[in-house]
């Protein structure tokens, strides 16, 4: 989230799209309702299905799954043609005025530089023209036909009401209603926010859906303000932290890039990843990338990381350039028999991964699996699953008992980036120990074997700093936490505007501003540097309830990265002189010599000060919000493409049916049935309040299971009537990849759509069930879903695919 949960109360219009907040984030929804109670905020729900969220919103607008970019693209078209944008903000705080290279083009759904054989773009033309100083050229009038603003206008001019209505199945009246109401926040004293969840990320166009909304928020001046932002209501307790700490193939802790094979030295890696800006008003904060990288290597390899050995850079594994190693790639390779061992910690991929039949087949090809969890699940017990003969499965499986959350100390980060400390309330039962301790013990045992026997590339294992136990040899979370924050590794004098402070070797680094690239500091994750002060105070434990701004920032409750900033890009809440755009919600204000309010995005004066002032979006090389975003793999502007599996044979907007940059998996179990009469209904998947994700924790709890005991499919009344399906009867839901049996719930919550003049029915199922427990609860919904992901992130497309429903 750019903002945080309590801040939802500060909004005037809340668009909930891609989320069923009332059921999946009930306590977050409390703050949404408070916005309604306190500000008279308008609440809008756009979703294929009518849910409890719809019931509490002012109104619900159903749209066909997978058409969010068309819907939002129509809103951009509306904002631009009706002059609803916040011009002062757009001119000063976004790259709207930048002049794009004349070689850039867009034609029939494709941007310049596409290579159909590789399904990838060469982005050489997605660039700005620069002046003789190397600074992007700008037209502050926004009239130049080659400026971002005009190109954006042209790009979305095709997203007319008629076209968008025909694609999404949303009536023109509903489209206009949402567009008018939401774009009314494009004024200084109104805030509009958007809440999304897996309903946006689970598409082959997921990242671009979110980018489309980001463009809207920039046009309306809703980024960086109280009650604004683009807010992911994330679905796992520490998914923010697990992402920050990079249990992911593509990044290292702190969002440092995973090194590719072509960058074989630290120098090359830093050169490539340290952005440059010739604009003196751009803070370009990532110019500090080398400091974050070297401090990370120092935390990983300790004294073994020295300048002479590139701080151990060569010991890090390198990924092949342009190759992804996501969960879907892992199971694809496993299915080919190329993966031998697997760690499965606190997760249940045999239920939660797409194309379950393929995943379960792949697991049978493993030599060994190490599971760590508090309950058994369908992954650990795959060898005795439905249709599997244990006597034919060679896999050795270890299932290690883990401590539950309240049985261990440590921190957890919510999606508002609040990092909160948890205390240990009780001992773990019998032989259970924290996952942290299991990790330490396994790695210590591996280290001991390498020390004794040698082996392949032993250096990273032997040189790994791994002293995170207490005097009794138990996992010490506080020790790890301080290592993540980082230390001064030698006595250091820091000069802050003439004030010199001596920090002794061994003191915790109080801010990432003090990290160094020479090996004199460590930080396991630079964004967390500052979670301890220099005296070792753990700010994550703070429980102060003061709220000086009255906006619910609670600056002394826990710690929010970065540097306790509660709303990021907050300098954009003020005009170029540092005065709040909205005097009613003073998030930040420049008083002539300093900022007052939230922790500002950097100490510099506001940008009207041409000598010392900086632009507000300090993490962007150009310092401004990116309406034109060349970082995306499928184009600098979002474009509507159909899901991999959908009801149409042609994209109504262009000759490109599906996202041209998605990777197509090609195993014999990766079948696709687009616009196939055998699978005529659009299907989506979701959760419920009582279960959590795959249900691997909640299905073992009697109270919760009693509330939601088994799998069901929701079917609209008209479709049920056509198929002769009664409410409560047993049905089979089939896709080209697999099928599940479940109960039919005939409902008004799904209504048919009219798409390109034809009636399209949509159905939906929860994804919370598996065969292991309860015995009659039904199996994984993901038997139906395809192995395909978003082109940028490889989040699987769980939210739009095609099925049939058959009465049993």
């Amino acid at each position: 989230m750019t903002n945080h949960y309590i801040d939802l109360k500060n909004s005037d219009v809340i668009l909930i799209m891609g989320s069923n907040a009332a059921e999946h984030h009930p306590i977050a929804f409390k703050w949404i309702l408070r916005a309604k109670e306190q500000n008279g905020a308008r609440l809008i729900h756009v979703d294929p299905r009518y849910t409890r969220t719809s019931a509490r919103c002012d109104y619900h607008v159903p749209l066909r799954s997978g058409t969010d970019i068309a819907f939002l693209g129509g809103m951009i078209h509306y904002i631009l043609t009706n002059h609803k944008y916040f011009r002062d903000y757009v001119v000063n705080y976004t790259n709207a005025s930048f002049i794009v290279s004349k070689d850039f083009s867009f034609n029939d759904g494709l941007f310049s530089g596409y290579d159909p054989a590789k399904r990838k773009y060469n982005k050489d033309t997605w660039v700005f023209e620069k002046d003789d100083k190397g600074v992007p050229k700008r037209d502050m009038t926004l009239n130049d036909p080659q400026c971002v603003f005009q190109l954006l206008k042209k790009h979305f001019s095709r997203y007319t009401l008629d076209k968008v209505s025909s694609i999404t199945g949303v009536s023109k009246e509903n489209l206009t209603k949402v567009y008018a109401e939401y774009s009314a926040t494009g004024v200084p004293d109104k805030a509009g926010t958007e809440c999304y969840a897996l309903g946006w990320t689970h598409h082959t166009t997921g990242s671009q859906i979110i980018r489309t909304m980001s463009i809207i928020q920039l046009l309306l001046g809703n980024m960086g303000i109280a009650g604004g932002g683009v807010n992911a209501l994330r679905g796992e307790p520490n998914v923010q932290g697990s992402t920050d700490h990079a249990i992911l193939y593509n990044i290292l802790p702190g969002y440092l890039k995973m090194p590719p094979a072509s960058l074989d030295t630290l120098e090359k890696y830093l050169e490539k990843n340290t952005p440059k800006s010739n604009d003196p008003q751009s803070a370009n904060y990532y110019q500090n990338y080398p400091k974050f990288t070297v401090s990370f290597l120092k935390s990983m390899f300790g004294d073994k990381a020295v300048k002479e050995n590139d701080f151990g850079y060569s010991w890090l594994p390198k990924v092949d350039d342009g190759v992804a190693y996501s969960l879907m790639h892992l199971f694809d390779k496993m299915y080919e028999g190329k993966v031998k061992g697997l760690f499965v910690v606190g997760t249940d991929p045999a239920v939660s991964s797409p194309n379950t039949a393929k995943v379960r087949k792949a697991l049978e090809k493993l030599d060994w699996m190490v599971g760590e969890n508090i309950f058994d699940n369908e992954t650990y017990s795959f060898w005795k699953g439905p249709g599997v003969d244990p006597k034919k499965v060679k896999t050795e499986v270890f299932l290690l008992p883990a401590s539950a959350t309240m049985e261990k100390e440590g921190s957890q980060s919510n999606s508002g980036r609040w990092v909160q400390w948890k205390y240990k309330a009780a001992e773990s039962p019998e032989d259970a120990i924290p996952v942290g301790e299991i990790t330490i013990k396994i790695m210590a045992a591996v280290k001991a074997l390498y020390a004794k026997e040698g082996g392949a590339c032993p250096a990273p294992i032997l040189n790994l700093k791994w002293d995170y136990t207490d005097a009794k040899g138990r996992y010490d979370a506080l020790k790890v936490s301080k290592q993540i924050n980082g230390y001064f590794l030698k006595d250091t004098v820091v000069d802050d505007k003439g004030v010199k402070t001596l920090y002794k070797k061994g003191q915790t680094v109080p801010t990432f501003g003090m990290l160094q690239a020479d090996g004199s500091t460590s930080s396991g994750n630079w964004i967390m540097a500052g979670s301890f002060d220099a005296k070792g105070l753990n700010k994550m434990t703070l429980r102060g309830k003061d709220d000086p701004t009255g906006l619910g920032l609670y600056p002394n409750w826990s710690y929010a990265w970065p540097l306790n900033r509660r709303i990021i890009y907050n300098r954009a809440s003020c005009d170029i002189n540092g005065k709040p755009y909205n005097p009613k919600r003073r998030l930040l204000e420049w008083t002539g010599d300093k900022w007052v309010g939230d922790v500002p995005d950097g100490p510099w004066p506001p940008m009207a000060d041409k000598a010392k002032g900086k632009y507000p979006f300090i993490m962007k090389p150009d310092g401004l919000g990116a309406l034109f975003g060349p970082g995306m793999v499928e184009g600098p502007f979002p474009e509507h493409y159909e899901p991999l599996e959908g009801p149409l044979t042609k994209n109504p907007l262009s000759g490109q049916l599906i996202n041209p940059a998605i990777e197509i998996f090609k195993s014999d179990m990766d079948k696709v049935a687009n616009a196939d009469a055998k699978f005529p209904y659009v299907c989506t998947t979701y959760s419920c309040t009582e279960h959590w994700c795959s249900g691997a924790l909640t299905r073992w709890q009697a109270w919760l299971l009693e509330m939601q005991p088994e799998l069901y499919v929701e079917i609209g009344e008209k479709l049920a009537q056509e198929k002769g399906i009664q409410n409560g009867s047993r049905v089979k839901v089939q896709s080209v990849r697999g099928q599940v049996e479940c109960v039919a719930m005939v409902t008004k919550r799904f209504q048919p759509f009219t798409v390109e003049g034809k009636t399209v029915h949509q159905v939906g199922l929860p994804f919370n069930y598996g065969w292991l427990f309860p015995k009659d609860g039904g199996d994984s919904t993901n038997f139906l879903t395809p192995t395909v992901g978003d082109a940028n992130t490889f989040c699987p497309e769980y939210k739009a695919f095609m099925v049939n429903v058959v009465k049993l």
Binding site: S242, P317, Y325, V345, T347, A425, T439, W557, W703
Partner: protein, 195 residues
């Protein structure tokens, strides 16, 4: 009758659940249930109270665990009324957090092992399991290690071991796993953030 806020919450919880169950036609022996709840309320007052954060969605609601001073066991978990986000309230899952403690009979409490071709779990001790796991990790890594890729570039990686999970453990544990995976040279590293 003097009643603290926390006492009131516990009491109203007792009344609420009584109503819900009686509506199902179950004989509650209501007086006894009421007495039990009062007893629990007294226990809460004298218990050691430890704060924690909910382990389901990412809102980050606060909870208070009440721990019996004599046994060291958790006997009650409820919303933290002082927490600025949830202000004491919880959803159905959070309100049921107690069912993740050892009171849940399905909790794993022993190291389990399934041998090749076997149709059952068997109990093992930690030492045996750690030694066997380390052996398998090392043998798999050593035999499949890729020093250079097809272009001849130095890659120092192990493609034959994958690592999945987890966004359901603490930051410090995530960081340790992230480093463990990199030190082993793994590249197939992923978790729920993507799915």
């Amino acid at each position: 009758m003097k009643i603290s806020r926390r006492g009131f919450l516990t009491l109203s919880g007792a009344v609420g659940s009584g109503l819900a169950l009686s509506s199902l036609g179950i004989n509650l022996k209501s007086l006894r249930a009421y007495a039990d709840e009062l007893d629990k309320m007294n226990k809460v007052k004298s218990a050691r109270q430890v704060t924690t954060i909910c382990c389901y969605c990412s809102v980050g609601c606060g909870l208070v665990c009440s721990v019996d001073n004599a046994t060291g066991k958790i006997f009650n978990i409820e919303g933290d009324a002082d927490h600025p986000i949830n202000e004491g309230s919880l959803c159905a899952k959070g309100a049921g957090l107690f069912d993740l403690t050892e009171a849940n009979k399905y909790r794993l409490k022993k190291v389990l092992y399934r041998a090749p071709m076997s149709d059952k779990w068997e109990e093992k001790n930690w030492e045996w399991a750690l030694n066997r796991i380390a052996r398998l990790v090392k043998d798999t890594r050593d035999s499949g290690f890729v020093t250079r890729n097809s272009k001849g570039e130095l890659v120092n990686r192990c493609e034959t071991i994958g690592h999945l999970g987890s966004s359901n453990v603490d930051n410090e544990e995530c960081w340790l796993m992230s480093l463990k995976a990199r030190a082993l040279g793994l590249v197939y590293i992923d978790h729920q953030a993507r799915v």
